[in-house]
């Protein structure tokens, strides 16, 4: 794959040298993609049809048992649905928080645009793990969690270990990924359209819905996909803020591969996760684009 042998044979030594140089340049990265991306994913697909070896791992076989076990048991399917609704809720949360923010930065911040974007990049740049575990302190019973408990008069009130804590962590962790693409599309927006709409007597909400939102759509789709996909596979946030009780796909995968060492079953789940993601994202893109003939929004 990482060669240019498909090219017509070079006529002179110079062309040969050029082809060699191209191969040398592309080869290392190509090798990495083949060995550490294509091969592992291919292995997972192959393993998903195998059986668990006696002491854990994989024994060759061709069976659909892993998929059947997965699809016929509501218990085993539960993490899929938990992940799906958490990721959908998290995406909506990011949108509700991120859209006004991106709109403000793009249209109101003027000279402070650069600063506000930098302030978004900084948390995104710093350790995800650290920013996540900090919520253990903030939401803990000595701080916010206890405070809310006192206010509502329930001494047993807890935020940590609940789906809400996980959701908060998801929105918090992935918010910048939603804001960046939204900001980029809104920033390029032709502001005279908004002015024209207002001059024609359209109300703010109508202007927003008919002008701003359609223009922001490409950024909205990119942002939604950028946050939805990692949320579907999130592992660290539910493990820390959910105390492992909100069991997402990421946690189920780690459980299968590391704890029970049932690689074939874990592989079937991984294939399932990727399929669910592909289907959801395709459906979403189709849904947003319906009725927009010829003005389709591309994803990436």
């Amino acid at each position: 794959m990482a060669t240019t042998s498909s090219k017509p044979k070079p006529a002179g030594g110079r062309r040969g040298l050029s082809a060699l140089l191209t191969t040398v340049l592309v080869f290392p990265a190509g090798l990495w993609y083949l060995v550490l991306l294509v091969a592992p994913l291919a292995i997972v697909v192959v393993f998903s049809f195998g059986v668990r070896a006696k002491n854990g791992g994989y024994d060759p076989a061709f069976t659909l048992d892993n998929y059947i076990r997965l699809l016929t048991s509501p218990d085993r399917l539960a993490p899929f649905f938990t992940s799906l609704w958490m990721a959908i809720a998290g995406t909506i949360g990011c949108l509700l928080v991120g859209l006004p923010l991106a709109y403000f930065i793009a249209t109101r911040a003027r000279k402070r645009k650069g600063l506000l974007i930098l302030l978004l990049v900084i948390p995104f740049w710093t350790s995800f793990l650290i920013r996540t575990y900090s919520w253990l302190i903030i939401l803990g019973k000595d701080n916010l969690g206890g405070l809310i408990g006192t206010v509502i008069g329930d001494p047993n009130f807890r935020i940590l270990g609940t789906p809400f804590a996980v959701l908060l962590g998801l929105v918090y962790g992935y918010l910048p990924l939603m804001v960046f693409p939204l900001y980029v599309t809104l920033e390029r927006m032709d502001r005279t359209l908004v002015e024209a709409s207002k001059d024609l007597g359209a109300a703010r909400w109508a202007t927003f819905r008919q002008i701003t939102l359609p223009i922001a759509l490409p950024g909205l789709i990119t942002g939604s996909i950028l946050v939805f996909i990692p949320m579907m596979g999130e592992y660290v946030i539910p493990a820390i803020l959910g105390y492992g009780r909100t069991f997402l796909m990421g946690n189920a995968l780690v459980d299968a591969f590391i704890q029970t060492r049932n690689w074939p079953y874990g592989s079937a789940m991984a294939v399932g996760l990727i399929l669910v993601m592909l289907v959801t994202v395709s459906f979403y893109v189709w849904f947003v684009n319906r009725g927009r003939q010829g003005r389709e929004v591309s994803v990436l």
């Binding site: 191209t22 990495w32 993609y33 550490l36 978004l120 575990y133 960046f180 596979g233 820390i240």
Partner: protein, 310 residues
């Protein structure tokens, strides 16, 4: 570039003839402002809390009692932390350097390959970024464990997971990041300088060294800093392909957090935050300086590049 912002801002303040439909204007403006302020508070509170509690005198990390720097001393004196710190650098430095080299090479090489091949390569780049990290981590673990098992049985060698496997696994994502940044820069590059250089009979190598490379440098620097930081901070991939004795700082922190956050955890976390932020500042300064010198247009330096990339 931002000229439309001026008339808009002006009209937002001026009373409008048709203000019958627009009397909510002030409320909306105020809400946008408050919302933005609250979001930034939301984003920064956790970072501030960790740093603050690293200076807490109390043994319990969750309540504030007084100021102290003792936890930094304890963390730095802790042999487990020292080993983890060393491992983190042993992973992030080679991973960052190798990925930056390979990613830049590939970005240059991809300009010279047939379109079909390039599209295939691009698809793999996106796949490597989009597939959830936990899936990549676990499938890479399975790959390593299976192949090491076969090789060890056949040859009697004792290959096992450790720093080299972490570096190799980290490099996949790092290469993709560098590739995207450098390719974005290449496509935005002014070709006239390169053509002028060839017209003046400069050799390809000299053209690369004097024209192309200086223009690419900001993207290469940003790519390296991003790769290094990602590999330094990563928990998921690292923890699954690490072996005995190759724990990094994030693995140490995760283990501590599972047992309950201690002030020492916060001290280690604060030092990690300081290091990565220092790198961001260096990157920002280097890029601003670089763009002033070469005249290339990277508005917003590193932050701008990252925001545009997403």
């Amino acid at each position: 570039m931002t000229s439309p912002a001026i008339p808009v801002a002006a009209t937002a303040k001026a009373p409008r003839a048709t203000s019958g439909v627009d009397h909510w204007g002030g409320v909306v403006e105020a809400w946008l402002r408050i919302h933005t302020g609250l979001v930034y508070a939301f984003l920064y509170t956790p970072v501030i809390v960790v740093v603050l509690f690293a200076f807490n005198a109390n043994r319990l990390a969750t309540t504030w009692t007084g100021f102290s720097t003792e936890w930094f001393g304890r963390a730095l004196g802790d042999q487990v932390v020292q080993a983890a710190l060393q491992n983190s650098f042993s992973v992030a430095l080679p991973a960052g350097i190798l990925a930056t080299t390979f990613g830049t090479m590939a970005a240059l090489g991809l300009q010279r390959v047939p379109r079909k091949f390039r599209l295939g390569f691009d698809a793999l780049t996106y796949v490597s970024i989009i597939v959830p990290e936990v899936v990549i981590a676990l499938s890479t673990l399975v790959l390593f464990a299976s192949t090491f098992g076969i090789i060890n049985d056949a040859t009697g060698m004792r290959l096992q997971l450790g720093i080299p496997t972490i570096i190799a696994a980290q490099m996949l994502f790092d290469i993709s990041i560098v590739l995207l940044l450098v390719r974005a820069r290449l496509s935005g590059m002014d070709r006239t300088h390169v053509e002028a250089s060839y017209d003046l009979y400069a050799t390809p190598w000299r053209t690369f060294r004097q024209i192309t490379f200086p223009q690419l440098l900001p993207a290469i620097v940003a790519g390296f800093l991003l790769s290094f930081t990602f590999s330094f901070d990563d928990y998921v991939i690292t923890s699954f392909v690490s072996g005995p004795g190759s724990s990094t700082l994030p693995i140490f922190i995760f283990g501590q957090v599972k047992r309950g956050v201690s002030p020492e955890t916060n001290a280690v976390a604060t030092m990690m935050l300081a290091l990565t932020l220092a790198l961001l500042v260096i990157g920002q300064l280097a890029l601003t300086w670089g763009s002033r010198k070469s005249g290339g247009g990277t508005t917003g330096g590193m932050a701008g590049m990252i925001a545009e990339q997403a």
